[in-house]
């Protein structure tokens, strides 16, 4: 039997700066195109890989398959009309777009929203995080060959979507937040059904923990994969669980508390090893944290009261000239809207800061080096990216 590791230490040959020497004419390298229907991402994105054997020597990321021009489109829409557009910027987690847009309008227009609306928004954002993590965990497991986890997690995610449906009338695009407040409070008996859902999630999470996190295959493939050095966190603008796995306690909910997060009791979860496994473990703990936060909110939230401030006619609403950056902690990290207004009824420019942009485009090119080609999908999922927010 041929010893495949016989010349392992000779290849790949390195430049003095540590980068791989790539000579395509030598015949020792192959260019492989992965994507745009890539198993490692919820959407379309491509990787242009230069491989030697089954290891990646160089990776170039290609985006543009999903571009729908949302940012430009919003410049031609009244602020209220941006709402149905903005939610499409992060399909699996649209509520953060709603939050950023509405609070931008409120901040620039100097509008105070009622307390009940703030609680409602916090609940929606946390529920959104919960369902997004549940969706992610299925993808992460699937990328390493554990197909069943995705089926379990999607079942409980559907239960969260049912709760969304009860509150907002929509399952995916909720559009429940409106400049000035929200469209309604929780319906009667919601707490009970929410608690049942949370218990079901906890039950399924127990199974997932047993079969995924105590699984030799998963451990073998994810431990040590895609190591993000803490120094890279600031260099690349890494946020969210990716940064927290490197031991850096970055969390917008704590650093810049918004809505009602400063009235909730929680600690920032950090890890040490900064590899795919640590990131997965942090997200697993985040699911439990979300469950805990929702339980806290169910107790503290007002069940009645004003949920909408008085707004002028939304068809003619002119927002004063100004500029603001609004951010929130989504499942992937810091999600923000940098908005400039010119005093008209239309936004002059909205720039969406999606964490996937840094994670999937720049960071991925760096992390993919020397990774086994079969692990690229797992690596990409471990960065947890959504292409629509790369291409707004």
């Amino acid at each position: 039997m041929t010893d495949i590791n016989k010349h392992r230490d000779k290849f790949p040959q390195k430049n003095p700066d540590g980068t791989n020497i790539i000579d395509l004419k030598s015949g020792k390298f192959i260019k492989v195109w992965q994507g745009p229907n890539h198993p490692g991402i919820t959407g379309n994105m491509s990787l242009e890989l230069t491989i030697q054997g089954d290891e990646i020597m160089e990776c170039k990321t290609h985006v543009g398959y999903l571009h729908r021009g949302f940012e430009k489109l919003m410049e031609r829409r009244r602020f209220i009309q941006c709402l149905p557009i903005c939610v499409r910027i992060a399909v699996p987690e649209p509520d953060f777009n709603e939050y950023c847009l509405t609070s931008t309008v409120e901040e620039l227009a100097g509008l105070k929203i009622p307390d009940a609306a703030k609680w409602m928004r916090t609940l929606l954002l946390e529920m959104s995080r919960l369902q997004s993590f549940l969706m992610w965990i299925g993808g992460q497991a699937g990328a390493f060959g554990l197909g069943i986890i995705g089926q379990w997690s999607n079942y409980v995610r559907d239960l969260v979507l049912d709760r969304f449906e009860e509150i907002t009338g929509g399952r995916i695009y909720h559009m429940h937040m409106i400049p000035g407040g929200v469209r309604g409070l929780t319906p009667d008996g919601f707490e009970k059904r929410m608690e049942e859902t949370l218990q079901e999630i906890e039950k399924v999470m127990k199974d997932i923990e047993t079969t995924m996190f105590n699984n030799s295959i998963f451990k073998k493939r994810s431990i040590g994969l895609g190591y993000i050095d803490p120094s890279m966190v600031f260099e690349y603008g890494v946020t969210g669980p990716n940064a927290r796995a490197a031991g850096i306690p970055k969390d917008v909910r704590k650093d810049y508390p918004y809505l009602k997060y400063n009235e909730l009791d929680f600690d920032v979860i950090t890890g040490k090893n900064s590899d795919a496994f640590t990131r997965a473990d942090i997200r697993r703990k985040e699911i439990h944290l979300s469950i805990d936060l929702i339980r806290q909110m169910m107790v503290k939230m007002p069940k009645s009261g004003d949920y909408m401030a008085k707004v002028p006619n939304v068809l003619h609403w002119k927002i004063p000239k100004g500029e603001t950056y609004v951010r929130a902690e989504c499942t992937r990290g810091e999600f923000g809207y940098h908005t400039v207004t010119d005093g008209s009824g239309y936004p002059r420019r909205i720039n969406v800061r999606g964490p996937s942009y840094t994670h999937a485009v720049a960071l991925m090119e760096k992390l993919a080096i020397d990774v086994n080609i079969a692990d690229t999908a797992g690596l990409m999922v471990s960065l947890h990216t959504y292409p629509p927010e790369i291409e707004r």
Binding site: T210, V311, H316
Partner: protein
């Protein structure tokens, strides 16, 4: 990693014994009560304002005509059609619907073989979800517009009840912009306004703080914005879509706001009327009321030489001689009239046609004649005692007050009538009583009960604030006269004013009587026209309508070709119809003379 990690994943097999969680019949799944499913529209409630179409950022909604739904006042006759290939179910259309007629069901499945069918066509076919109770509806206490109007500031009753100071103070800039912001630009008002004024356009000008543009829009269809901005009957407000949410827009006050903001000396520059090329045609206009002034303005713009003959001593017609100064100050009438005068329109006052000059003479000297002589003859109740010298006609008294003549007001007065003229004369006399005696002793009695009194609600409220007593639902029976002096008015209870077919046919209860003490009685039960300036031969040629008004075509041309007629003797009575008539007549005269 340990040996456990190899074995533990096998616990997944335990799920083999568990019932599957997937839904067996997904098509039968009941969605949540708030679910945003297929649309429903209550066609009776919907007024076709098109706000849903306006807010839809996907352009999924088109307003379409529908069989069985007619265009009428306050209803465009259009209904929303929704293209489900474009709809994103955001429900903003439901949120902004002015009548709350548009809602959503919680149905979400629709199986069809033809993709073109996936549209919500109102009333076209029945859908299973048409009567579905559940589904998204606009939540309570949630509005994407301000439903209530900005309150107009008025002078307090104590300050106004002795003087003829203008009561309504007018909007400040902030108030006007806030009020203009409420407009949803549906245009129902344009269709209802007799002059079809560009109301949403001038409201938009207020919103954008562009008074010059606002003035240009006003003068396109209405050359008397100061007058109309104060005393227009505002039919537009009665059809405003926003009244279904709360209050109609204060359209009249916004019009006044624009006119008040622009100084008279800038009019010519803004309206670009500095160099009008004159032609050699001459037009005579009888009556300097709103109809005559409007016709004169638009004829002057077309280059005609216009001369207005007025029987009274000042311009404005009923707006000056029928409306008290506290509602419409004379200097505001003058502002509008002076601008028309500055365009070269000549005025000849104190000249009564038929007496000072005959109509035939006018026909000889001028190429066309426009008559807008209004309703200046008061109607009498013809009850016993109504021919007494202390029993007056409201229009005569109002005319005397406007002319500055002194009126001998008595201590106790009864006004008969329930319309705005009754309120006008009562409030005028109350001021004079206050000035003379220091207190008000005045009763207004009308046939109509308070809910159907034709006077504006604000007039009734303000009259009461000025200590006038209103006694509705009484029919005048007899004026009591003793020793040649009026002692009061006998009245009997009026049970109903109109019969089942809606005709004027009052019914009384003779047993229920009342007596109102008075030294003076004023009748304000309506006015008639005075067509005595027409010769008998002409009167025989002049066709009349069934409602005893002069019959004219769409261009206000009467059955005598050179004679155009407009104003209260054709329609109304109201100021905006008269202005519209004047505009139409100007166009009609221009057509008539260019064809000659």
């Amino acid at each position: 990693m340990s040996f456990k990690d190899v074995l533990k994943p096998f616990t997944a097999w335990k799920n083999l014994a568990i019932e599957p969680v997937s839904i067996k019949k997904p098509l039968e799944r009941q969605a949540a009560p708030r679910y945003r499913g297929f649309h429903k529209n209550n066609l009776e409630k919907c007024i076709g304002c098109g706000t849903c179409e306006e807010i839809c950022q996907n352009a999924a909604i088109d307003m379409v005509p529908l069989d069985g739904i007619e265009t009428k006042e306050g209803d465009s006759g259009l209904r929303p059609m929704i293209d489900y290939g474009r709809c994103c179910w955001c429900a903003l259309c439901v949120d902004v619907c002015t009548t709350n007629s548009l809602t959503m069901s919680n149905h979400f499945t629709w199986v069809d073989t033809n993709a073109d069918n996936f549209r919500f066509i109102p009333g076209a076919e029945n859908k299973p979800w048409d009567n579905e109770e559940l589904g998204y509806k606009k939540p309570e206490n949630y509005e994407l517009n301000n439903p209530y109007r900005v309150e107009m500031v008025e002078i307090e009753p104590e300050q106004r009840d002795k003087s003829f100071l203008e009561i309504v103070k007018g909007f400040s800039k902030e108030q006007a912009i806030k009020e203009a912001d409420r407009c949803i630009e549906c245009g129902l008002c344009i269709a209802t306004c007799p002059a079809h004024m560009g109301i949403p356009a001038y409201i938009a000008a207020v919103r954008n703080d562009d008074m010059e543009e606002g003035l240009r829009v006003l003068y396109e269809t209405n050359p008397l914005p100061e007058i109309c901005g104060r005393v227009c009957t505002h039919k537009c407000e009665s059809v405003c879509a926003m009244q279904h949410k709360g209050d109609a827009l204060s359209i009249r006050w916004l019009k006044r706001y624009i006119a008040d903001q622009v100084p008279a000396e800038k009019y010519k520059e803004i309206l670009e009327t500095e160099n009008i090329k004159k032609n050699d045609k001459k037009i005579a206009i009888i009556g300097a009321g709103p109809a005559g002034l409007s016709a004169a303005y638009y004829l002057a713009l077309l280059g005609y030489n216009v001369k207005i003959f007025e029987a009274l001593s000042g311009p404005g017609g009923m707006t000056r001689y029928g409306i008290p100064e506290y509602r419409l100050p004379y200097d505001q009438i003058d502002k509008d009239v002076d601008y028309i005068k500055s365009l070269g329109v000549e005025f000849q006052f104190n000249t009564r046609i038929g007496k000072d000059i005959t109509l035939d003479k006018l026909h000889e000297d001028f190429d066309a004649v426009f008559a807008g002589t209004g309703l200046h003859l008061g109607r009498s109740t013809r009850i016993d005692g109504s021919n007494h010298e202390k029993c007056y006609q409201a229009v005569d008294l109002l005319r005397d007050v406007a002319d500055g003549k002194s009126i001998n007001v008595e201590k106790k007065i009864v006004v008969i009538g329930g319309g705005n003229v009754a309120m006008d004369i009562a409030r005028t006399l109350a001021r004079l009583q206050n000035q003379k005696y220091g207190k008000v002793q005045l009763i207004i009695t009308s046939l109509e009960s308070e809910d159907i009194m034709p006077a504006d609600l604000e007039e009734i409220v303000e009259s009461r604030e000025e200590k006038i007593i209103i006694e509705p639902a009484w029919g005048p029976k007899k004026i009591k006269i003793e020793d040649g002096k009026i002692k009061g008015l006998h009245v009997i209870k009026c049970l109903s004013v109109f019969d089942e077919e809606g005709r004027f046919n009052p019914k009384f209860d003779e047993n229920k009587k009342e007596f109102f003490e008075a030294d003076m009685v004023v009748e304000a039960i309506g006015q008639g026209m005075d067509l005595s300036y027409f010769s008998e031969e002409m009167q025989s040629r002049l066709e009349m309508t069934d409602r005893h008004k002069v019959k004219v075509d769409n261009n206000c041309q009467s059955s005598i070709p050179w004679l155009f007629v407009g104003g209260d003797i054709v329609a109304g009575p109201d100021v905006i119809s008269a202005i519209a008539d004047g505009h139409r007549a100007a166009r009609g005269i221009d057509n008539f003379l260019s064809q000659k």
